[in-house]
Amino acid sequence: MTDTTQTTQSSDAGEHYVAPFDANVSFDELQDAPPPAKFKLSITGWVGAIVVGFWLIVAITGPFIAPFGENELPFPDDYSEYQTPRLGDATDPETGEERGFFAQVYNGALMGTDAEDRDILSRIMYGAGRTIGISFVATTIAYFLGVILGIGAAVAGPRVDMIVSRINDAFLSLPSIMLGLVMVAAFGSTIPVLIVCAGLIYTTVVYRLARGIGMDIMVMDYVEAAKVRGEGIWWIVTKEIWPNAAMPLISDFGLRLIYVILFISSLSFLGLGVQPPQADWGNMVKENLGALQYGESIIPVVAPAVAIATLTVGINLIVDDISAHAGGKLSKRM
């Protein structure tokens, strides 16, 4: 039965209007605003994802598909005196000093060769796995330790928090490159030492973040509700805190990976990271710096630098999207 009474009467304050109604229809509680949109990558996010995806594929498959070996000399015959000199040849016309080849593009070496006459493209492909691999393992170590200590400090109460935080602050106050140089100098620059060194140095940063997030969650009513219920610390950490801390921590992982890549590359550039003849993007830049000086080809320096830049920018673009989705909270914590 539909009742469509519609009263309209005028008075000084305005008319009186009643919408048509069905006397039998009840008025349910209204839903709240719809839940926030699902996570979607923007155009820049997709660009980042494609670039990062590309480098990941290169890192994994590089050693198998590289045209030449890491330290293979593609053109051994070039050392022969009978050959006509290639572009940017070996000796300085004035001093007669050997200065490397730095050829541009020659006989299938798409990016030319480096100071030792090795194929640059192949070395970048080998270096990708090493640079990304070392950084990833180091970041994972940093996260493993940082998150356990950080959330532990948030849960354990003010006294433990005070002690751990002050020790952490002391390490945080040391410049990371200096600390890295000292550690590498003391323990030798092997890849395991590099990984442990970068991992420990970045543990301090992850600790701060994880502790902050953990503290924020600790004061939520649902954590208090779990305490009032009598739950033990293990339940509170694994079921109440961790699921809520995971998302912001995971998006920070990408950002932290960038810093570690730059850190490892810086160490290699300074000669204390990955040691020659092993290829790494950082030490490739260092080995080939001469190319800039002599001006025959800038590719040997630019190629690994561009590799570092595109990878870090790519990761950044993805992280931007994630933190924008999380309401910019992440950027506030940085």
Binding site: S11, H16, A33
Partner: protein, 631 residues
């Protein structure tokens, strides 16, 4: 009235939300409203009705995720839905001003108040800094702020919540806007603060002749301040008309339902208490001479002592309502009972046996018997757990139920709180506010407790949803015989639900006893202030109340915690100088009441006389008003 008088009007206004898949979800479905100069138009409806979205359309603003879907919103003859941000800039802050719900979130804590109040007109170039300062000063006087000449030099944290709310009105009015948009400006305030703010708003709107849109879900508040009411449901107008027509003669069933959900004025005999069938010898929970506070001070005492000698007894199956303004120690009492805050004096007894003060030293069986229900379901439910897991955990934890048995019990619990069984698979953010609060209650019920501590469980909900939750609690009480400690600053809700009332003031029990005794004379002066501050659903109530002696003496002051004497001394109309501020008040038993105790220096007879005097005053005012009306 000519068309020039129309400040703002919408014609068939439609606003859509964009869904993930690109489809449109209508939020506002063809709304026509008109706001004339000097008129206050109230938009009322429950949460989700689109009232805030419509009010924001007057600023040409759509919340993120919303888009204009058609129709017009004309502000001073310009359709703001067709303008871009640059074109809107001259309107916002100058022609139309917006007052948000929370003044605390609106003010920048590190900038002096005056600078923020005068910012808009100076920025828009409509006033010089001197003119704006002068105008702000006028407004401070008009809004009856304390120390109006110097209050602008303070920082936001140096004034009280009610004062900040009024300062926000000054901020909005400083640029002399044509239209004022007020979005639930008193909802988060205590009753006593609310009427103080309402009075200031009403006065200033009248004096300035500004037009206003007042958004709220509280009809009793609307009746005090609005000229015209628009009732919204689900983005559509259900009824609109002048305030007296809507209040006295609502036609649409939805309006009638809204009216029915309005909390009645608290009075004796309205209670719907328990029948005593669950009563046993020992009380379920008892607080004996509890002293508690926060911080670490000297000799084992807390830095700030909140609760002083609080005695509360909760009989089995009974509901004890705890009322008082914010800062009176209501939540502190609940936290002491729950074990979250160990008291430094006194003891908590459960079933006649003493309970350890600290949570960690209580046994699991003791924890199970006392359950705490949080005010905000949003933060009390873990957003990453499904409803089934949230409800299942206490079953597993306290009752060792697993697998099929647990699932069955979860479904029973959902049924108990009137939610569909399918909700077990949902996450909290997929539920509405009222539904979340039901889950919150169900989680506490899952423990099968003897006492449930409900801390303001209906305060964050609008009136209809809140009324439904109260109905549910009454059902639970009848079925399970659980005792409740029901904390609220809303006296009418407490009065309709509790068996006994404890009135807390500044950490002390001012008055306690059975509901009918507490809500009938003799009153503690503070109880009378609280009762008289509850808005009534009739036009003209505000003026009447503000003229009363309690209001004049006590409304504009805040709660102060004192070490000696009666803390209500500085707000009390019948305080005795030299006694009330020096000596702790004696506990006086009402000879007619069963366990009705008032802590006051005045004799019971004096308090009776006081009530009679106040009633005579109200009657006289009524008579005068009637005589005036007839003449």
């Amino acid at each position: 009235m000519s068309d020039d008088d129309i400040v703002f009007e919408t014609k068939d206004l439609r606003i859509h939300a964009m869904r993930d898949d690109g489809s449109e979800l209508p939020i506002v479905k063809g709304v026509d409203i008109q706001v004339k100069r000097g008129q206050v138009v109230a938009l009322i409806g429950e949460s989700g009705s689109g009232k805030t979205t419509i009010s924001l359309s007057s600023l040409g603003y759509c919340k993120p995720g919303l888009v204009w879907g058609g129709g017009e919103a004309n502000l001073l003859g310009h359709d703001v839905t067709k303008m871009d941000t640059e074109e809107l800039r001259p309107f916002r802050g100058e022609k139309v001003a917006y007052l948000a719900q929370s003044a605390a979130a609106t003010f920048n804590p590190s900038i002096r108040i005056n600078e923020q109040v005068t910012e808009a007109p100076v920025l828009h170039g409509t006033k010089t800094q001197e003119e704006a300062n002068k105008r702000a000063n006028e407004l401070y006087h008009a809004l009856e702020l304390p120390n109006p000449d110097s209050i602008g030099d303070r920082y936001p944290h140096q004034v009280s919540g009610g004062q900040l709310q009024r300062l926000m009105a000054a901020m909005a009015l400083c640029g002399d806007p044509d239209l004022l948009v007020l979005d639930e400006p008193t909802t988060a305030l205590d009753v006593t603060t609310q009427i103080e703010v309402l009075k200031a708003f009403k006065k200033v709107i009248k004096e300035e002749g500004a037009a206003a849109i007042y958004v709220t879900h509280d009809l009793a508040v609307v009746a005090q301040i609005a000229d015209y009411i628009v009732v919204l449901y689900s983005g559509e107008i259900k009824e609109k008309g002048p305030v007296d027509v809507i209040v006295n003669n609502p036609q649409h069933p939805y309006t009638q339902r809204l009216m029915a959900a309005v909390r009645p004025t608290p009075s004796a005999g309205m209670g719907d208490g328990a029948d005593g069938s669950h009563r046993r010898e020992a009380p379920a929970l008892e607080a004996r001479a509890v002293d508690a506070g926060y911080g670490k001070g000297s000799d084992g005492k807390p830095l700030v002592q909140i609760l002083r000698d609080v005695n509360v007894t909760i009989e089995r199956g009974h509901t004890v309502g705890v009322i008082g303004e914010s800062g009176c120690g209501k939540s502190t009492l609940a936290r002491v009972m729950a074990g979250l805050l160990p008291p430094f004096g006194g003891q908590i007894n459960l079933d006649g046996g003493e309970l350890p003060g600290a949570l960690t030293s209580r046994k699991r069986s003791e924890l199970q018997k006392i359950q705490f229900v949080y005010q905000m379901a949003d933060t009390a439910l873990n957003p990453r757990q499904r409803i089934g897991d949230i409800l299942g955990r206490p079953l597993e934890f306290y009752h060792n139920l697993r697998g099929e048995k647990k699932r069955e019990r979860v479904q029973q619990l959902l049924e108990l709180v009137e939610l569909p069984k399918e909700f077990a698979a949902r996450f909290p953010h997929e539920l509405s506010g009222g539904q979340k609060q039901r889950v919150n209650l169900a989680r506490s019920m899952a423990a099968e407790p003897e006492v449930m501590l409900c801390d303001e469980v209906t305060s964050a909900l609008d009136s209809i949803v809140g009324a439904n939750v109260i109905k549910l609690l009454k059902g639970l009480r009848k079925e399970t015989g659980v005792s409740f400690v029901f904390i609220s600053h809303d006296l009418s809700t407490v009065a309709s639900f509790a068996d006994e009332i404890v009135v807390l003031y500044a950490g002390r029990v001012a008055e306690k006893g059975p509901v009918d005794q507490v809500l009938a004379p003799p009153f503690h002066p503070y109880t009378r202030l609280l009762i008289s501050s509850v808005p009534e659903m009739r036009v003209g109530w505000l003026e009447e109340t503000m003229g009363s002696r309690e209001a004049l003496a006590g409304i504009s002051r805040g709660v102060t915690i004192t070490k000696v004497g009666c803390p209500f001394f500085d707000r009390c109309p019948v305080a005795i100088d030299g006694t009330c501020d020096k000596i702790d008040p004696p506990k006086r038993a009402d000879p007619h009441g069963h366990g009705h105790v008032i802590e006051c220096h005045r004799e019971i007879d004096e308090l009776m006389a006081e009530t009679a005097y106040a009633q005579a005053q109200i009657d006289a005012a009524d008579a005068a008003a009637n005589a005036g009306g007839e003449a």
